[in-house]
């Protein structure tokens, strides 16, 4: 929708209050010109002039959060989490191809409010449970002295006592054990032991106890130890807690910030964490599910079949080595001078090609910097045929910096851009349409500059200094409203560095991590919690682990969140 909205958002009056926050008038815009309601308090598109200057007092100053949504107290496993969980629990992923895709409600697929189960999705779950239970009935470990082909009732109860702890990620209640024991007995009347075991496994996989993470709380609203264990493991691994984490939960070891951070560090060392963090960063920056094959043939001309994989590898390595490593930082990830290219991508980027595989290369002297100029990210926010000023401009403002650009007004849809005049560049035409003097300037003052900085990149991140007529691209941009300052930047590389050094991007990363961890969008009541997490971070310099340590150690991580 965002892509379509922006295509239509060529002209936007940028007026009115959106999501509880108002946009400021563009600098120099006369009142009543359609540029917006005028300067507002706290109204940087996050931390701008209204918030009082260069140094915002709090990381969340000016940040407009989403509409109020209560915590549900439960979260269905996403498709991604389901697959990872059954792999850990059962050692198989048989049949999980039947699961339907999740429909993300916001940046992240794990937003609980969007994880309803349609009938089609329920059918997919049923098919997956049937296939998984069939495979697992032959392999799931049985209690000592118990054979899966001749399970006595006592053996079944012993199995349930231990296995349900892992499957449900908490100790089963006696009612649950009794229910599955009774099911086994019932099934044994007409089936052999293994088939009855299969039926029990299938029932558990279809149960809400397995499929949903119920976040139990104590009288003070604090999550119980097992809910904390799941919150931690699904944040870091995208999968179920291991035995050590469940033991820590049982022993009360997760009640303290120190205990949680200790477990976080342990989990973070596991390779599973690296892949999960790529998923988090990919969803934040929209780099997941980008298919080059959707791009126009003219854009793909001259590229090879490995480009898609090499772009994905580049992004993954940027996350793992530049942000998630001990020496990594948000700045290195977003705007570092090193990236990772295979032969095909090196050719696309005009960089030295490795012999094989993905090699680290320096971007010194290159028009690129880190993930913000990675081909996969640019492709995600471009059209099929080429770059798009509003698409990439909106991406920078709303996704990278958590600033708010309202949807275009009704009349924006009835307007097409003017014809390009002889000798006029794309930028000049677009500026004539949306810039100073137009009714659209209110929003496009914010959208256009980052969009212009990227105009020298095509729809898959290929760079050129000149357009098809041989005219040099003008990628200079006057980037307003970042940490209360306006800065002139010559190109996307400089813009990326400017952004990566800002307090705002650090606060936005913290917000995204919290939304990913909590499975919901943040709202006004979360501002203090966001400040608590973000205030301890150094703009650009903290690694992903340090960000997560601040989050996991915070009080908000141990609480369910508002339920009304």
């Amino acid at each position: 929708m965002r892509l379509a909205l922006l295509f239509l958002a060529l002209c936007s009056a940028c007026s009115g209050e959106i999501l509880g926050g108002a946009l400021p008038m563009a600098p120099g815009t006369p009142a009543g010109s359609g540029g917006g309601p005028g300067p507002t308090t706290g109204g940087e598109l996050g931390g701008g002039p209204g918030s009082g200057g260069a140094a915002a007092a709090r990381p969340s100053d000016g940040m407009t959060l989403g509409p109020h949504r209560t915590a549900l107290g439960l979260r269905r496993l996403t498709r991604r989490e389901y697959v990872a969980t059954v792999a850990d629990l059962l050692g198989t992923t048989a049949g999980t191809a039947s699961l339907t895709a999740d429909v993300p409600l916001s940046h992240f697929d794990n937003n609980a409010h969007g994880l309803s189960v349609s009938l089609a999705a329920a059918g997919g779950l049923a098919r997956a449970a049937e296939a998984l239970s069939t495979a697992a009935a032959a392999t799931v470990p049985m209690p000592q002295g118990c054979g899966r082909d001749a399970l006595t009732p006592a053996c079944m109860r012993s199995f349930l006592d231990s296995w349900l702890l892992r499957a449900l990620r908490r100790p089963p209640t006696s009612a649950e054990v009794d229910r599955y024991q009774a099911l086994y007995t019932s099934l044994r009347a007409t089936a052999d032991s293994r088939e009855a075991l299969r039926g029990v496994l299938e029932a558990v996989l279809m149960s809400s106890g397995f499929l949903y993470r119920t976040e139990g709380v104590g009288p003070d609203g604090t999550l119980d130890g097992y809910a904390l264990a799941s919150r931690l493991s699904y944040l870091v691994w995208g999968s179920m807690p291991d035995d050590a984490l469940l033991s820590a939960a049982a022993g009360g070891g997760l009640a303290s910030a120190e205990g949680r951070v200790e477990q976080l560090r342990r989990l973070f060392r596991d390779p599973k964490a690296q892949d999960a963090m790529v998923g988090f960063a990919g969803q934040w920056l929209g780099a997941q599910g980008v298919a080059l094959s959707r791009k126009d043939a003219s854009v793909l001309q001259g590229t090879g079949p490995t480009l898609q994989a090499e772009l994905e590898t580049e992004f993954a390595l940027l996350v793992k080595r530049e942000w998630a490593s001990d020496s990594g930082s948000l700045r290195s990830f977003l705007a570092g001078k090193r990236t990772y290219v295979g032969p095909e991508l090196a050719r696309l980027y005009g960089l030295p090609a490795p012999q094989s595989g993905a090699a680290a290369v320096s971007l010194e002297g290159s028009p690129r910097r880190g993930a913000l100029t990675a081909g996969l990210v640019i492709a995600a926010h471009s059209k099929e045929s080429g770059y798009s000023v509003p698409l990439i401009g909106h991406f920078v403002r709303t996704d990278v910096l958590c600033q708010v650009i309202p949807p275009p007004p009704v009349d924006a849809q009835n307007q097409s851009p003017p014809a390009r005049l002889p000798g006029e560049s794309y930028r000049q035409t677009f500026e004539r349409f949306t810039g100073a003097g137009s009714a659209c300037v209110g929003c496009h003052t914010f959208i256009n500059p980052p969009g212009y900085a990227y105009t020298s990149f095509d729809a898959i991140g290929r760079h050129s200094d000149v357009d098809s007529t041989g005219t040099a691209y003008d990628t200079s941009a006057r980037f307003v409203e970042l940490d209360g300052k306006t800065t002139e930047v010559p190109d996307a590389a400089a813009l990326a560095e400017l952004i990566a050094d800002s307090r705002r991007v650090q606060a936005c990363a913290a917000r995204m991590a919290m939304e990913f961890a909590f499975g919901r969008t943040l709202h006004e009541a979360d501002l203090a919690a966001l400040d608590a997490v973000a205030s301890g971070l150094s703009p650009g310099r903290d690694s992903l682990l340090q960000l997560l340590e601040a989050l996991v150690g915070s009080e908000s991580f141990a609480r369910r969140g508002p339920t009304q």
């Binding site: 039947s98 089609a120 029932a203 509003p390 307007q415």
Partner: protein, 472 residues
């Protein structure tokens, strides 16, 4: 080529898996045994506008109409067609006084639900396909409430789509042939001979499994906040749906799922593959109806507002000159280029004409599926080509829709109903808008024609109640 399974339905119950899949068939057999005629429903959708003003839409007299340049591929189906122009969608996601009459979001959410998003970012009620499937299931006139949605082409956004099971519950799309085969026919291939007793036992076991899952689900409700309770209760209801579809086996006709072949690994994102995937999905719809795996199916090209590329048209990249370039339908729509737009819409029309060919093919028992099927084709917005203005009018008041099939003569086909004079031929736009007919009544007519009882209003109550009388 189809896979000639030629299995008797009672032979298909080798495992509980087969039972799960074939349960719908069993219910339908029961329905037939009670003398309830089978009725089927298909919705077809395409992105962006579908008429483009006076240029290419249906025109002429009520019975002597022609399809215009955009829809001429449908000419061979004229006798089975009800063409409707001047239809009006509603919805208000944008705010402002003109909000209910413009916009991709408005039309995309409204074209099948007849509701606005109420600024929620989702449709606020079920789409007509899901509604009919659910109602027929509840009336015990259909084997399942499942109504698959096939999609060819990209999505513009994850929530901006047209098919919803309920408010804020979008229907996951089937996007690959492999997924379609697995979802609809996956367990048939492994089926073999088995007796009724074994099948009945397998059903009983499966019911026990789902009972246990349902009991677990209900047991978890009490500890949750209200909104969480509602979401979990929704899942409990879906478990009951699965269980309700289990029935005792009975004999039935043969069915032949379409073979996957090389399509099993085809890239659904590559536009060069769109035609092949579309053809396969149409085969699936035909086979699913013959096999009675479902009674309701939907097909959509992309989703609202998407940039649908058709590289085989060999159209040049259109250059607005302001960073707005592309060779897709959306970009061309903004470019006021009716001849080129005719090729986009014409391609959709050609594919849908092929689906109608399939539904009109004579089956083994001498029947035609279209005789018991209603097909509803809608776009998301109306005319996007106001002559002399920009090419971006996203008006929902001049919409062209089609219904195919008469459901046994109940609906009068071979007709064009032009409800509003064309504002782009000099007629005042506001008057045309006042003449336009909201599509709520059309949807009520379709719902009733499908045998759903007790429904005289659908979607937003502001759309009115009752049927669209002109259809009869």
């Amino acid at each position: 080529m189809n896979v000639p399974l030629r299995l008797r339905r009672r032979d298909l119950f080798k495992s509980a898996a087969a039972l799960a899949l074939l349960a719908p068939i069993l219910r339908s057999t029961e329905a037939r045994a009670q003398g309830v005629p089978i009725k089927r429903f298909v919705t077809l959708c395409h992105p962006n506008g579908n008429d483009y003003g006076s240029v290419g839409g249906p025109r002429g007299g009520a019975t002597g109409f022609n399809f215009g340049t955009y829809y001429q591929a449908l000419e061979r189906h004229r006798a089975d067609t009800i063409a409707l122009t001047g239809m009006r969608l509603g919805g208000i996601p944008w705010g402002g006084e003109a909000a209910d009459d413009v916009g991709h979001g408005s039309g995309g959410w409204a074209c099948l639900t007849a509701r606005s998003s109420q600024n929620t970012g989702s449709a606020t009620g079920p789409s007509v396909d899901q509604f009919i499937a659910r109602k027929l299931f509840e009336q015990r006139q259909a084997p399942t409430a499942n109504a698959p949605v096939f999609r060819v082409g990209p999505m513009a956004g994850t929530r901006w789509q047209s098919h919803y099971e309920a408010a804020a519950v979008p229907v996951p799309h089937i996007t690959t042939p492999e997924q379609a085969f697995r979802t609809l026919f996956g367990n048939l291939a492994g089926a073999g001979a088995n007796g009724n007793q074994a099948a009945a036992q397998a059903i009983a076991r499966r019911r026990s499994v789902l009972d246990a899952a349902w009991a677990d689900c209900k047991g978890g409700l009490s500890v949750l906040p209200a909104e969480g309770r509602a979401q979990l209760d929704e899942y409990c209801a879906r478990i009951r749906d699965l269980e309700s579809a289990l029935q005792a086996p009975a004999a039935g006709p043969t069915c032949a799922p379409p073979a996957l072949g090389t399509l099993a690994t085809i890239d659904p994102n590559n536009p060069a593959n769109y035609a092949a995937i579309t053809e396969y999905f149409f085969k699936c719809i035909e086979a699913a109806f013959v096999c009675d795996v479902t009674r309701v199916a939907s097909f959509t090209f992309g989703t609202p507002a998407v940039r649908f590329n058709m590289p085989w048209l060999n159209l040049p990249t259109f250059d607005f000159g302001s960073g707005i370039t592309g060779s897709d339908q959306h970009t061309y729509s903004h470019g006021e280029l009716p001849a080129q737009l005719a090729r986009f819409v014409g391609w959709y029309a050609s594919r849908f004409a092929e689906l109608l060919d399939r539904l009109k093919a004579v089956q083994a028992d001498g029947s035609r599926l279209l005789d018991s099927t209603l097909v509803y084709w809608t776009g998301e917005i109306g005319d996007t080509y106001p002559t002399g203005a920009s090419g971006a009018l996203h008006d929902l008041a001049c919409h062209t829709m089609f219904v195919f099939g008469s459901m046994g003569g109940l609906l009068k086909t071979g007709k064009l109903h032009a409800f509003a004079r064309n504002p782009f031929a000099g007629y005042q736009s506001s008057l045309a808008k006042s003449e336009a007919v909201r599509h709520h009544g059309l949807l009520v007519s379709l719902i009733q024609a499908m045998g759903v009882t007790g429904v005289n209003q659908f979607g937003d109550p502001n759309g009115g109640s009752g049927v669209l009388q002109q259809l009869y």
